[in-house]
């Protein structure tokens, strides 16, 4: 523990961190929650908008069926009780990113309640309770214009459907928070409910955190950190805020209930300037939308259509493809990678080979380019073709890796690429023999070294031959012929 300003901390107090999360997830619908505008990410400001999502007077919302399906599917997957008669409410507050000055959300009758998600941290299993899941609309985007010192308002995101998943305050560490978020993200991706692209803001978390002395019954005063959208920052924020609160208490201070902003660069949180008015959202039932009545049959049907979730998929990979548990775990850790795996195997078979390309090369390239697995954009047919070329012996593994980088970045077609760049393996022993003889002639010292017993010189000579053949030669063949040549001359 730390020391500060010469003051001594009170001895040996143990603290427990109590964390609850509110996670906002953008649903993977084609259109917005209440109008037919596209939910496509990006676009010129205010071009994915219509009179309805910009809150023009007299316009009315009509609910997107898919939003209810997705929200209910998420609720079911998280073991929630689905609210049979649910309803929307208006949450009223003024802010320029909210064109109607109210957000259509659910307060009184959210679509799901009382669920839970099982997580595993350091081998220990634990269920994190889900307090509720509700549907709502996203707000617009505010951009600062430094030239005129004003704020520009873009409503493209306005009305994109969200579900908010509110956990119980059941988490006790950053590790648990990350495990919960990973699990949540996977579940939603597997359900097809959201792409959970954090860099596009499809998954954002608000962290409610408090600390209390170990063994205490009452919760401490909590703070809220809003709109966190990277797992790493979330982990740092949890630890940073925990430390800040403990230090405050240790030095006789008091935690104030407030909203704070985590500054990942400075590694600390700051109190947000409190809004001018009280948070009194004056919720009331949305009169422009009629209630939902979710029938038993509809729910049963929805349940029956539920896709294979991660744990089932992992088990199936081990069983069906005879993959090691380790491989199955990594492949299924992202829905995008698992999909890619299955589609590629469907084209070319060879599950272990496909798995290797995804687990090793793909992961390495993702790391290098600081991308998330969801951003993988190459097509399974090109990976399958690459594996085919290797199998035929048309290219060697070194060349294959090079080509794969091109596939990863530009989704090139390997067959065309190989032809265009003349990368096919040199199978012609005549041509190879020619190259070998040239290399041996050019490097008499190495030949002498080899013959003098320095077997290492062999490696250098192989390299030279490969260079001469622009890497197209089959290294095994080079080795063999070189050996024959050297031994033969002796």
């Amino acid at each position: 523990m730390t020391e500060r300003g010469g003051k001594q901390m009170r001895a040996n107090r143990q603290y427990e961190t109590v964390i609850g999360l509110e996670v906002h997830v953008e649903l993977a619908t084609k259109t917005k929650i209440f109008c037919g505008c596209t939910t496509e990410f990006g676009g010129e400001p205010n071009t994915h908008c219509c009179p309805i999502c910009t809150g023009m007077p007299g316009t009315l919302p009509v609910l997107n069926k898919k939003v209810v399906e997705y929200a209910a599917a998420a609720a079911l997957a998280m073991g929630c009780t689905v609210t049979r008669r649910c309803r929307f409410d208006r949450k009223n507050y003024f802010y320029p990113d909210l064109p109607k000055a109210y957000q259509v959300s659910q307060l009184y009758l959210p679509i799901g309640r009382n669920g839970g998600i099982e997580i595993e941290v350091e081998g220990k299993k634990k269920v994190i309770g889900i307090h509720e899941i509700h549907m709502e609309e996203d707000a617009g985007k505010l951009v600062h214009d430094p030239w005129e010192d004003v704020t520009l308002v873009d409503y493209n995101r306005c009305g994109v459907p969200l579900i908010e998943i509110v956990s119980e305050p059941d988490m006790r560490s950053a590790e648990e928070v990350i495990a919960y978020l990973e699990k949540l993200k996977l579940m939603l991706q597997y359900l097809g409910v959201s792409d959970c692209k954090m860099q596009e803001g499809s998954l954002r978390a608000d962290i409610n955190l408090s600390v209390r002395e170990l063994g205490a019954k009452e919760f401490g005063t909590r703070t809220e950190m809003k709109n966190m959208n990277s797992f790493k920052a979330i982990a740092r924020a949890v630890n940073g805020e925990r430390k800040r609160q403990i230090e405050l208490l240790e030095y006789g201070g008091r935690v104030v209930q407030e909203t704070r902003r985590w500054d990942d660069n400075k590694d600390t949180s700051f109190a947000m300037r409190s809004k001018e008015d009280a948070q009194d959202y004056r919720y009331f039932p949305e009169p422009d939308l009629v209630p939902l009545e979710l029938g038993e049959e509809w729910l049963a049907e929805l349940k029956s259509r539920q896709p294979e979730l991660r744990d089932e998929k992992r088990a199936r990979y081990i069983r069906e493809y005879q993959l090691p548990a380790y491989d199955a775990g990594i492949l299924t850790a992202s829905k995008a990678i698992a999909d890619l795996f299955e589609e590629t195997v469907a084209l070319c078979g060879k599950p272990k080979e496909v798995s290797n390309w995804l687990m090793v090369e793909t992961m390495r390239l993702l790391k290098e380019s600081e991308q998330e697995p969801e951003e993988v954009s190459f097509s399974p047919k090109n990976l399958a073709a690459l594996i085919g070329l290797l199998e035929e012996g048309a290219i060697n593994r070194t060349v294959a890796k090079e080509i794969f980088e091109q596939i990863f970045r530009k989704d090139v077609e390997p067959v065309k690429y190989v032809e265009a760049h003349g990368l096919r393996i040199v199978q012609d022993t005549g041509a190879l023999g020619e190259a070998i003889r040239e290399v041996l002639a050019a490097h008499p010292q190495s030949v002498a070294d080899y013959r003098g017993g320095k077997k290492k010189a062999m490696g250098f000579l192989v390299g030279q031959v490969m260079k001469e053949t622009k890497g197209k030669a089959d290294p095994r063949m080079v080795n063999q012929m070189l050996l024959e040549e050297l031994e033969g001359l002796e």
């Binding site: 619908t29 084609k30 259109t31 109008c35 037919g36 505008c37 596209t38 676009g43 010129e44 400001p45 205010n46 071009t47 994915h48 908008c49 219509c50 009179p51 910009t54 023009m56 009509v62 609910l63 997107n64 069926k65 898919k66 939003v67 209810v68 309803r87 003024f94 802010y95 320029p96 505010l142 951009v143 600062h144 214009d145 005129e148 010192d149 004003v150 704020t151 520009l152 308002v153 873009d154 409503y155 947000m272 300037r273 001018e276 008015d277 009280a278 009194d280 004056r282 039932p285 009169p287 939308l289 009629v290 209630p291 939902l292 009545e293």
Partner: protein, 110 residues
């Protein structure tokens, strides 16, 4: 119900209204009006509503939903992107202030 000054101030702040001190709907008049109107409204407490479900919607309409299909009805006979630009112009046509295809408000970002 007695309405305090601070209640009027609070409610006006929620509604983003400034009540004048001199003319029109003054603070004092608003307070008086609200007090009288609320006193009248409270007569509904005479009605016994024990066991009655609050009724937000009068008719049993339910599950009104649309399919998840992109509809950009204001775009007609134009290429999609061009259509979106036209639509943006229409949406911004009533804005008191606009810049670079956006509505403009005083600085909000800290």
């Amino acid at each position: 119900m007695k309405i305090e000054d601070k209640t009027i101030e609070y409610v006006a702040a929620l509604a983003k209204l400034e009540l004048s001190e001199e003319e029109g709907l003054t603070h004092e008049r608003a307070r008086g009006d609200l007090e009288r109107i609320l006193a009248y409204i409270e007569t509904m407490n005479e009605l016994d509503t024990e066991g009655i479900e609050p009724m937000s919607h009068v008719f049993p309409l339910k599950n009104v939903m649309r399919e998840d299909v992109v509809r950009e009805d204001m775009i007609r006979q134009t290429e999609q992107m061009e259509g979106r630009q036209i639509r943006r112009e229409a949406l911004l046509s009533n804005a008191p202030s606009q810049k670079e295809g956006c509505f403009v408000v005083p600085k909000t970002v800290e």
